[in-house]
């Protein structure tokens, strides 16, 4: 009787363990559309932060969901994915927003010069600040 209980106990633990391992292994990616933004600011502000001190900006923004307000400068479609460039005061840099599949569908409603708010995951700064998996907050 006692042995039976122990075996059942071990089995239950094993199943719970396997379930947890499976869940962690298949952990989903961050859902940008459903999550609220960690930081919201303008395109100029985020670009200034990165161009004045990239290291501190990296620790402040990387892998966070950032909501950026700006004016559309350019709209491109590459490999069926929309990319929006937001205008800034800087001559060279801008904010590049790579859109999600969902947001790409809405891109043909967008016009150059239009004010938008997008949110996406910041992955860093090359010539421009780069945001991935962007969704429109207002358009």
């Amino acid at each position: 009787m006692k042995i039976k209980k122990i075996i059942i106990g071990i089995l239950v633990l094993g199943i719970i363990g396997a379930f947890i391992v499976y869940k962690t292994y298949n952990k989903p990616h961050v859902n940008v559309a459903a999550a609220s933004a960690d930081i919201s600011l303008t395109a100029d502000e985020i670009l200034n932060d990165f161009s004045s001190n990239e290291n501190s900006a990296n620790s402040k923004y990387l892998e966070k969901i950032i909501e950026v307000k700006g004016v559309v400068f350019e709209i491109n479609i590459e490999k069926e994915k929309g990319i929006i460039t937001l205008k800034t005061n800087d001559d060279f840099g801008s904010v590049l927003c790579h859109l999600s599949d969902e947001a790409t569908k809405k891109v043909n409603l967008l016009k150059e010069g239009q004010a938008v708010i997008v949110k996406g995951i910041c992955t860093g700064f090359l010539m421009d600040v780069i945001l991935l998996k962007c969704e429109f907050v207002s358009q």
């Binding site: 952990k27 990296n58 590049l96 992955t123 090359l126 010539m127 421009d128």
Partner: protein, 181 residues
């Protein structure tokens, strides 16, 4: 005085024409694969910055490590936190010279780019084969090569060692456009 003005005009003209000879892409693609019997792992980065100076045949590439997208969120987390330590080393770079750059025309040719690849804070001289194609509006570059994880001090824990190849195949595809601003 006149010669001075001509000199300055020439100088301005030269710098202007030089800047027009720069080709650039902000959304170059790099994909890497680890092929193992247990599991195939693949990650895409479509935000690669690549610049070619067409007057000298020099090439410079900048890659954000955090822009690599994996199918599984956990793999992406491990890649960034444990393997390439992208908080410490957020970028990978490549700087090099395109060999036989003058021979690159409209028809695609195979040539090599000799330069220094920096990943995980470690620089290594490499010669990478690539297909080049050049028109007035574009310079297209694509190809693939292998990198050894050991070369860049990337340590894989024993637990997952069976799932991750030590040689990683990297493929790239850049479509450069003339840079204007």
């Amino acid at each position: 005085m006149k010669t001075l003005i001509t000199f300055f005009c020439c100088f301005i003209f030269v710098t202007v024409s030089n800047s027009q000879e720069r080709y650039l892409t902000k959304n170059g693609a790099i994909t890497f694969y680890s092929k193992m019997p247990i599991e195939d792992i693949k990650a895409d980065n479509n935000q690669v910055l690549s610049i070619i100076d067409a007057s000298s045949g020099k090439m410079a590439i900048s890659i954000l490590m955090k822009s690599f997208m994996f199918k599984k969120a956990l793999m992406q987390e491990h890649f960034n936190e444990n393997y390439v330590e992208s908080d410490k080393f957020p970028k990978a770079t490549f700087k090099g010279n395109i060999l036989n750059f003058d021979a690159i025309k409209q028809a695609a040719i195979k040539t090599q780019v000799k330069g220094v690849l920096t990943i995980h804070g470690i620089s290594k001289e490499m010669t990478i084969g690539a297909n080049f194609k050049k028109t007035k509006e574009t310079i297209q570059v694509n190809g693939d090569f292998f990198i050894e994880m050991d070369d860049f001090d990337i340590e894989i824990p024993a637990v997952v060692a069976k799932k991750i190849a030590t040689k990683i195949k990297v493929s790239f595809n850049f479509n450069h456009k003339p840079y204007k601003k």
